[in-house]
Structure formats: structure tokens, C-alpha cells
């Protein structure tokens, strides 16, 4: 592996000086080669001397050769982040890479390792680390259909919902294939993460985002009321919490007004309310146009708490996990059916109280 990389280096420095992760080399009638971290600084070298010295420091040379490959800036930044390239020296990094270095990206665990001197990448669900018998894949495009449904076969309209299915692995990819696979699983996350690192992420807050909506979504603009942004806090809490989306919400109410709920701890940013948020907001805009009114219900204290627990169970996606015979759980199906049998009238009204007042 070394010889071609050394030959490429000596040819490259004849074109222009090379500087990569602590390696400096240039050519001006004769060669210069320096690695300050290793106290090496040689000049006046012949081509043979240069190549011998370069071959003695193989990791620096193969490292340069890898990062000198033609890739997009964002892809390079992502791949360098995977191996903490800006935080470690080349020899330290190569030592770690031989054992494998891992990072999390949403629900993914991505490992990079050195295999015969070449970087190879592996992607799997982070819950599947250490699992054998995963379904192997090579083609990045395979990822697109792998993530359409969750483990229960339900459609995932939001690619960054924390419902990534398990059981597959892309075990042996190049850097480019790795980024491509990640982009099929979590579209545009690498691009936006890179823009954010460059300080160039274009965030569209709630106010301008709903301001540009038209057609059936234009109605959401009518939901904003004066200075209050409480309703948008509720939207973000409902849809953008880490339990619902692995992106980190960076959009706020507007440029001046931050929302009061956490944006989450995701590795990559969310730069504007997505289409699911807008579609849900359209529904809430209509529902919130209704006037509040007082209802009177008769419930035991346990029944009141049961209603609250049922709402919690649905909101937290826990309803399917409640065991059939676990009647100690207030959201248990038998408990809910009993409550319905006891408290609903024949028209489905809680406590027999009509939704619309008859007056």
C-alpha cells in the first residue's frame, strides 16, 4: 500500500506543497519533508531520500493520500469527524483505527477501521452493536427501502423519527459509500451539519416558515396571536422532542424569540419546521379556533388519573407495550374498556355529557 502512496506524494509535491494532519512536504529543486510532531524536519532531499523518509512514516503518507481523494467538502468533514481527525495525531489515530473508531449519528452507529491500510466503514443500528446474524448489505441504495418501515411494519413518514428498524448492517464500505448510505437513511443531515459547523446554517424559524405557506397550509398563519408563542412551544414539545425526532431543533419562534422547550441533543440540526409539523399545525390551527367551554364530568379520583394515564400512554407511544393482563396499569385495555362501559352513554359521551351544549 505504501509504495503507490509515496510515489503519489512525491509527484504531488512537485505540483504544490502538501500539508495534511502534521505532514508538510514541498519541492523547490529538491524536496523538503517535515513532521513537527515527530521532530522531523529534513530539506535538500533527493527524490530517493524523500521517498525513503516518506516510506518510514507510512501512516502520515497514507493518511494524506486518503484525504487527498476527490470528495465533497461536507463528506470529508463528516468522515474526518468520524475518526476525530482534528483532535488526534496521525499515529494515535492509526492506532485507534486499527481497533476501530465509532460515532453515533441519530440512531446509527458508524465505525471506521483500518483494513490492510485502507479505511473501511461499517453502519448499523446502535442497538445492534455486538449483534451477529444481521442482514448484510453493500449497496448504499439498499438503505432507502430498509428504513421505510419500522420494526412493527409501520410506515415511517419522518426519516429522523427514532424508530429506525434493526437487523441490518453495511459492513464494508468506502468513505463515499458510507456518506451515501447515511444520506439515504437521514437525508440532508450531513449537508446541514456541515453548514452548521461552518457557521453558515440557514435557519428558518417558525414565523417566516408559516409565512411562506400557501394553499391549504396558508391557514396556519392565522394561528399566531400577537406576542404569544405558547402554541409553538406546544407544537415543538409535541413533535420535535428527542423522543420524536433525532434532529436537534435549531429553529425558534422568530429571530428574536426563542421557544421555551428544549431543542434536543441530536448530533445534526433541524433548520426549519418540517412538512409533518406544518401538516399537524394546520390541524391544530383549525382545532384551536374553537372556543373553550366548561364541561362537568363525574369521575372517581382513580378514573380521573386513569384518563390522564391513557393520554400519557398514547402520547408516549406506550399503548402497544401494556400487557393484556396488567390491570394495574391504568391504560390497560381492559381497564379502558371498563371505564368506557361505565362512563360512556350510548352515544359515546363521557359521563353522558354532550359535546355540544343543547342550549
Amino acid at each position: 500500500m505504501t509504495a503507490p502512496a509515496v510515489a503519489r506524494l512525491s509527484s504531488a509535491v512537485r505540483e504544490e506543497p502538501v500539508a495534511c494532519d502534521g505532514l508538510h512536504a514541498e519541492y523547490d529543486d529538491n524536496y523538503q519533508f517535515s513532521i513537527p510532531d515527530a521532530d522531523i524536519e529534513e530539506s535538500g532531499l533527493s527524490e530517493d531520500e524523500f521517498e525513503t523518509l516518506a516510506a518510514d512514516h507510512e501512516p502520515y503518507v497514507t493518511n494524506w493520500a486518503y484525504w487527498n481523494e476527490d470528495r465533497a467538502d461536507a463528506d470529508d468533514a463528516f468522515l474526518r469527524w468520524l475518526e476525530a481527525a482534528d483532535e488526534t495525531t496521525v499515529p494515535e489515530r492509526y492506532e485507534s483505527l486499527r481497533a476501530g473508531m465509532s460515532r453515533s449519528w441519530g440512531e446509527l452507529r458508524i465505525e471506521v477501521r483500518l483494513d490492510d491500510g485502507a479505511r473501511r466503514y461499517e453502519i448499523r443500528h446502535s442497538d445492534d452493536v455486538g449483534e451477529d446474524g444481521l442482514e448484510p448489505h453493500d449497496e448504499p441504495l439498499d438503505a432507502r427501502s430498509l428504513v421505510t418501515y419500522d420494526d412493527d411494519g409501520r410506515y415511517r413518514p419522518l426519516k429522523t423519527a427514532p424508530s429506525l428498524p434493526h437487523g441490518w448492517v453495511f459492513a464494508d464500505q468506502t468513505g463515499r459509500e458510507c456518506v451515501e448510505t447515511v444520506e439515504y437513511i437521514y437525508p440532508a443531515t450531513v449537508a446541514n451539519w456541515y453548514l452548521e459547523r461552518q457557521g453558515e446554517l440557514d435557519i428558518d424559524h417558525w414565523e417566516p416558515t408559516i409565512g411562506r405557506q400557501s394553499g391549504i397550509y396558508g391557514v396556519v398563519q392565522t394561528w399566531n396571536r400577537g406576542d404569544s408563542h405558547e402554541h409553538v412551544n406546544w407544537v415543538a414539545e409535541a413533535c420535535c422532542d428527542d423522543s420524536q425526532c433525532v434532529k436537534r431543533r435549531e429553529w425558534q419562534y422568530d429571530e428574536e424569540t426563542d421557544l421555551d422547550v428544549p431543542g434536543g441533543d441530536g448530533e445534526f440540526p433541524c433548520r426549519e419546521p418540517c412538512s409533518l409539523v406544518i401538516a399537524a399545525a394546520r390541524k391544530w390551527t383549525r382545532l384551536e379556533g374553537e372556543q373553550e367551554q366548561a364541561y362537568e364530568f363525574t369521575l372517581t379520583p382513580s378514573e380521573k388519573e386513569q384518563v390522564e394515564e391513557i393520554i400519557d400512554a398514547v402520547a408516549d407511544g406506550r399503548a402497544d407495550e401494556i400487557r393484556e393482563a396488567d390491570t394495574s396499569d391504568p391504560a390497560n385495555r381492559y381497564r379502558a374498556r371498563y371505564l368506557r362501559a361505565k362512563r360512556f352513554d350510548e352515544d359515546g359521551n363521557l359521563s353522558g355529557t354532550a359535546t355540544e351544549s343543547s342550549e
Binding site: 441504495l141 449537508a191 411562506r212 400557501s214 412538512s275 401538516a279
Partner: protein
């Protein structure tokens, strides 16, 4: 480098909505004439909003996989792609003749060739005919057959129906199919119970072709849209036409 971006509606509820878009994009990708082939959706990801930044190409051909010119092609897509300079007059269209306009997107350093929808391209007529061939399994289908093109249409935009009539007129003028189509064939007594086709009703054989957008030849329309806008596509159009033929291996 040149990229093709196929933009389509997608769905929050129906996982199969994007399938034809993916399939046609894959067909184009396999020809290798574009350095990158991407899809973007109004309701799925990547969104129209964020697709351009995922590309490395400087030249981008955006083809809407929509049937007609109107709200999506004239308002939503250019707005969401940040084609700030877009004006529908740049297409100089009579409602079915939009070709392409070249613009810059405000968030990326790229040249964007924004094409008219796939549905109004002349090659779409061939897709409808191909659809008839593929459902009947007959490359020569025509004589003794009537062909009805059924579209959505909307009172809010006359272009919606125009696109359907445009292709129906072209097929009619070709003289390939008979024009005698009974108005009410009564495929089923109760639509809720479904119906099976092909079937025979009152001595007439009926095929129901399903959505024309699922026909593999749609990939050719995407290619031709991009080619008309200046993309270098080599012999890909001919290859895709042959490859997607009914009964082709």
C-alpha cells in the same frame, strides 16, 4: 458535473406514493449519464427545501414528476427550492408547453435548470400508449381498441385538465385507436366491493391501466425533459425506451 433532481409529491400516510418516483430515478441513475440523481418530495425527505444542498454538481436539472402545470410547478416548487428569480412567464407556456428556465437558487452556488412537468412533455403521450401496450401485453394494440385517458382536473386551474386533453388529442390524431368508447360500462354494481379487470361487459373487453405515472417509460420523459433543458444524456433516451418496453428483458 450534472445532476438530475426528480421532485414529486410524496405522502405522510402512504408508503407507496414515492415508489414510482424512486423507480424512475433509479432507471435514470443506471444509465450513468448524470453524476448524481436525486429525488425530493413535498411530503417526504429530502424535502424540496434541502435537496439542492445535498448535491455536488454545479449544473442541476430539476424535473417535476407532476401531471400538469399549476400550483405545484409554478408556486410551491420554485419557492421551496429558493428559485427567487422564477417567474412563470419565463416558461412562456400556453398551459402545456413549459420547457425549462435557467436560474440560481439563493442557498447554493449552482445553476438550476427548472423544467416543466413530466406530464406535459410530448413523450408523455408515448407513455400513455405504452401503458395500453403493457396492460394488454400487445405491442401493436390499437385496432379494435378504444383508449380513455382519465385525469383529475380542477376548477381552480384550467391547466390541470389541459394536460390530459393535450395527450388525448395527440393520441386521437395518431389514429392508432378506435374512437368508439361506450360512456358507461358498469364495471361494478358497487365500487366499494372493487372490480376485476380485464373483464368483459356487454361484449366489450375492458382493461383498467392504473396510474400512468407508474409506467416504467416515465423515466424516459424525465430524461427528455432534462435533455431539452441542455443536459448531456448521450444515448440514454434510446436505451431507456428500449429497456422499458413491454416484455423487454
Amino acid at each position: 458535473m450534472q445532476a438530475l433532481v426528480v421532485v414529486a409529491h410524496g405522502s405522510h400516510l402512504n408508503p407507496d406514493s414515492s415508489t414510482p418516483t424512486y423507480r424512475h430515478a433509479d432507471t435514470v441513475r443506471e444509465t450513468g449519464v448524470f453524476d448524481e440523481v436525486a429525488t425530493a418530495f413535498w411530503k417526504e425527505e429530502p424535502s424540496f427545501r434541502e435537496v439542492l444542498r445535498t448535491l455536488n454538481s454545479e449544473e442541476v436539472y430539476v424535473v417535476p414528476l407532476f401531471i400538469s402545470e399549476g400550483y405545484f410547478t409554478e408556486q410551491v416548487i420554485p419557492r421551496e427550492l429558493r428559485l427567487a428569480e422564477f417567474d412563470v412567464d419565463q416558461w412562456d407556456s400556453d398551459g402545456t408547453s413549459a420547457s425549462s428556465t435557467t436560474l440560481r437558487a439563493t442557498d447554493v452556488d449552482k445553476t438550476v435548470h427548472y423544467c416543466g412537468p413530466a406530464g406535459t412533455h410530448d413523450a408523455m403521450t408515448d407513455v400513455i400508449v405504452r401503458r395500453a401496450e403493457s396492460v394488454t401485453g400487445d405491442d401493436e394494440v390499437g385496432e379494435g381498441f378504444g383508449l380513455a385517458v382519465v385525469g383529475h382536473g380542477t376548477e381552480r386551474n384550467e391547466n390541470s385538465a389541459k394536460a390530459i386533453r393535450y395527450h388525448a388529442d395527440r393520441i386521437r390524431e395518431s389514429g392508432r385507436f378506435d374512437e368508439d368508447i361506450p360512456e358507461d360500462m358498469g364495471l361494478t354494481d358497487d365500487y366499494r366491493t372493487g372490480w376485476d379487470t380485464p373483464t368483459e361487459v356487454d361484449g366489450v373487453n375492458i382493461w383498467y391501466a392504473g396510474a400512468v405515472g407508474t409506467e416504467p417509460l416515465m423515466a424516459d420523459v424525465l430524461l427528455e425533459r432534462a435533455r431539452d433543458a441542455g443536459a448531456a444524456v448521450g444515448t440514454a433516451v434510446e436505451e431507456v425506451r428500449e429497456q422499458t418496453r413491454a416484455g423487454a428483458d
